[in-house]
């Protein structure tokens, strides 16, 4: 187990709701945005490694990826810059599988650890294809977060949770990343299904678009990922806008945490 796993279980067990902002690596100001998020109450950061063909991403993160790639960002340059972040929370990368495959599984897992990254989220690497990567990741103590989707039959969810390290990423809706006016009902129903069967922290991401929606989600889940809403603020307003937003979401989900008793999980 890596650092994300120990950290998140301890914080969750202490009754804290977990906040995971997403920042596209290589975007102008991205390191300052990570620092601002950490200083304003993030529990971990997802660093996006831009890919030429991001099929799980909507327009905002596509645009951010394109800007970063056009500016010359590569996985190597981003991981080098990550070493200088000096923040005191776990860092994860979110990337598409071809990036890992091209490097080689072991080499990539070792590079992550050497860069101060403790976890990886690979949205196009489902359970059935994950063995080679998770073997290498486990050997280097990189936590592999697994995704669970609203379409999964009941039979599939326990197998996903059994393979998840750090947290299980509960996909909030049928669709790609991006902000929505209202929270999809799938966001809380899937989180509730997962909470019933696992003691791995359950974090909802994709389509959770503001502080109020984050609070709605946290009434059921252990925490929330904030993606497009953070990246849009970074592109429009810079790192300070990200810091302000993370602080706002922090307050909203802390209110949920203090209102609800700590759930006791016996799974």
């Amino acid at each position: 187990m890596g650092r994300l796993d120990t950290d998140f279980r301890a914080k969750r067990d202490a009754g804290r709701k977990l906040l995971v902002p997403y920042v596209t690596g290589g975007l102008t100001g991205w390191q300052d945005a990570v620092r601002a998020a950490a200083a304003n109450g993030a529990d971990a950061i997802e660093i996006g490694i831009p890919f030429s063909d991001p099929v799980m991403d909507g327009p905002v993160i596509q645009e951010a990826s394109l800007r970063a790639l056009t500016a010359g960002a590569t996985p190597v340059s981003i991981l080098e810059e990550a070493r200088d972040l000096d923040v005191d929370i776990p860092l994860a990368v979110m990337l598409y599988y071809n990036t890992v495959f091209r490097f080689g599984h072991r080499r990539f897992a070792e590079l992550l650890i050497a860069s101060g990254i403790s976890a990886a989220i690979v949205p196009d690497l489902p359970l059935e294809e994950s063995v080679e990567w998770t073997r290498a990741a486990d050997a280097s103590d990189v936590d592999t977060v697994m995704l669970a989707a609203p379409t999964a039959p009941d039979e599939r969810l326990p197998r996903i949770c059994a393979r998840a390290r750090g947290f299980v990423y509960s996909v909030g809706l049928l669709g790609v990343t991006g902000e929505r006016d209202t929270l999809a009902s799938t966001a809380t129903t899937l989180a509730a299904r997962l909470k019933k069967i696992t003691d791995v922290p359950v974090i909802v991401g994709v389509g959770v678009s503001n502080a109020a929606q984050a609070a709605q989600v946290c009434a059921v889940a252990d925490g929330v990922v904030q993606g497009a809403s953070v990246v849009r603020r970074l592109m429009d307003g810079g790192a300070d806008a990200v810091g302000d937003y993370v602080a706002e979401v922090r307050v909203a989900i802390d209110a949920v945490a203090s209102a609800a008793p700590v759930a006791v999980i016996t799974a």
Binding site: F51, T74, D124, E128, L147, A148, T151, L174
Partner: protein, 394 residues
Amino acid sequence: MSLMAEPTAEGRFGEFGGRYVPETLIPACMELEAAFREAWSDPAFRAELDELLRSYAGRPSMLTECHNLSAQLGVRVILKREDLNHTGSHKINNVLGQVLLAQRMGKKRIVAETGAGQHGVASATAAALLGLQCKVYMGAVDVERQALNVFRMKLLGSEVEAVHSGSRTLKDAVNEAMRDWVATVESTHYCLGSVMGPHPYPWMVREFHRVIGNEAKVQCADLLGGDPDLVIACVGGGSNAMGIFSGFVDSPKTALIGVEPAGGAAVGRGIPGVVHGMKSYLMQDEYGQVLEAQSISAGLDYPGVGPEHSYLASIGRAKYETVTDPEVIEAFQVLARTEGIISALECAHAIAWLIREAGRFQGQTALINLSGRGDKDVAQMMDILEPELAAGGH
């Protein structure tokens, strides 16, 4: 066992293939696999599809012997006339199969990607015939160079969305169709247009195109008294090639040649990678970013290739060659002048390769899959060739 048997349970041909898609789509891929397996072994489904292929698409497609071109090249040239199918290309074989299957699965809507627009037109056609809604994603560059097909799709009642991301060609249209499918998977079938994507698509699409090879095998036996020495097809994703190869892959005397554009040679210039749900040869940079293909032919403007082609290449059963845009433009004209056939730019790649390499195959017999007709390309060719024709060239 045939070299073109079913893939493994994980959808692999050798090391290639698989199912690298977002978790949201995994149940849909599994459901599709089960539905296809069930339908494909149901004689009633097969009979319904066969009847549509016969009375609607116009199958069987015939063989044409090219006497003039044969005399010119010293190679006996036979064309498999997929260009004469309804909607003008081989794409209709796969689409009728998939849309029938979608209907059987209770889906109300299909989405499709298209490059040259031939798969989009075929999808729009089948959707109109079988009463499904249809939305086609097409790169903005292709919308421009294949304007006629865009209008045809609209005429057939489909919605066409121009895709402005990335290289604005086929690869980006696939991305956008997948994004749509992730959001609409409960009501929508993704009608993928080639032997690519996540399992079961490469296998299923090959099976729907097997009819090309099955017919050609029998037709060659009648015409030639046996198998040809060469079977040649152009390769974008690789569906028309897989269709015709399927008839001859187990015939050791027949060489199988896939022709890629020099600017989109996944097998020729690529290394194994993962995109669009599959592991296969892929044009990519040192960090795994997918490179943009560059070809005069919108239907072959794709940096990847179907995984079974990667497998056939890796075991040496099929050979993959490239031709350049100028060679294709020349071949397009040669076929028109010698045989009176205006071919699609895609299959003009196969013709171009044979014209260039004919010296090595004197006295042999070559079967070429003429995968589509050139109506859609005439406007583009007019821009390129008319100044030359007006100036009295040729």
